[in-house]
Symmetry: C2
Subunit: 204 residues, 2 copies
């Protein structure tokens, strides 16, 4: 019994490792070429793992796409949202989120830059669970920004404003900056930061 | 000799017609699924024309993609830029451009909404002539907006502002509005219009 349990543990561990290797490559590919271009064959070729093994893990292309979106979301939260959580709530945390986002896009975390900028527009006409997952992430990110704006207004740090509209606007500017960054406009993130800071009236 | 000329004319005419039919379908497809998903076979199936005939006209997939971008640009200019040119220059023409753009995205002119919003982010990591054409169009559109902003400032209609940054910002908001429209947010264009109008201080 114990031996069987050990074998099962080892199998699970190997499955989890394979999954991680495949998904790490998948998020890069999807940020460069879009989630539509993911395939078991391509990922097998890129990672050196067997196509049959990858297919057994994910079963369908849609399941692979959904797992890729989930993996990208975890990486984004680890790189942008979680580090900013150590800043005090309100304007300072919003500022920390924007600083981390700038690093995320400039470094970049994914080979092709922002994962959602690369995929949202391509999936906006394709109803289904992949589109739903991408837009759920976008709503969550806008709500993360809105939450700090709301706090900043309540604390008297900035003048009252239409919170949801301001979050929409910040997100729109970051997406456009990401695209411009990819084509060599290195100053664009600073420019966008100036627009955002300028749009928030700081209470004296 | 005359008969030969007539045959050539008819052939050219037939070629031009076929080209128009294929490209009208191609811009819709590319707005829905992206330029990457264009293929001679798919277009033949959708239009009822022969695959060999379409291939003879365009030769390569890249040439087909470039012709599709050019066709989309002409349709955009006809639907948005040209009609607005009857408005007086400055703030009124800018307003006419934004009205026409709203119709362009809401009607929509292309089955999947804004052609550039659907394709720019997907091509931003793919160096080559297709990316260049898409980004040239984006620059031209931003410059169209910038030109009216510049005029409005010079004419004292609005307060001085960073023209290029303002054009970047308007374009970013329109792109984000296009994506939100596709997923059922029908009020988003009005919301974005309020942001833009609010950002331009009208001289009293």
């Amino acid at each position: 019994m114990q031996e069987t349990a050990e074998i099962t543990d080892k199998r699970l561990l190997r499955g989890a490792r394979t999954r991680g290797i495949v998904l790490r490559r998948a998020v890069d590919l999807a940020s460069l070429e879009g989630l539509d271009h993911l395939s078991f064959g391509r990922l097998a070729g890129d990672t050196g793992l067997s196509k049959a093994g990858i297919q057994t893990l994910f079963r369908t292309k849609e399941a692979l796409q959904l797992a890729t979106v989930g993996f990208a979301r975890e990486m984004f939260v680890d790189a942008v949202v979680r580090p900013a959580a150590s800043a005090p709530r309100g304007l300072r945390r919003l500022s920390a989120l924007l600083d981390r986002w700038a690093e995320y896009a400039e470094a970049p975390l994914f080979a092709g830059g922002c994962f959602w900028a690369a995929n949202l527009a391509g999936f906006d006409s394709k109803a289904g669970p992949v589109r739903d997952a991408l837009f759920r992430d976008q709503r969550e990110w806008r709500e993360t920004l809105a939450s700090e704006l709301r706090y900043a207004v309540a604390a008297g740090e900035i003048a009252a404003l239409d919170i949801d509209l301001a979050a929409f606007q910040i997100d729109a500017l970051l997406s456009a900056a990401n695209t411009a960054l990819r084509t060599g406009d290195d100053d664009v993130v600073d420019k966008v930061r100036r627009i955002i800071d300028g749009s928030l009236t700081v209470r004296g």
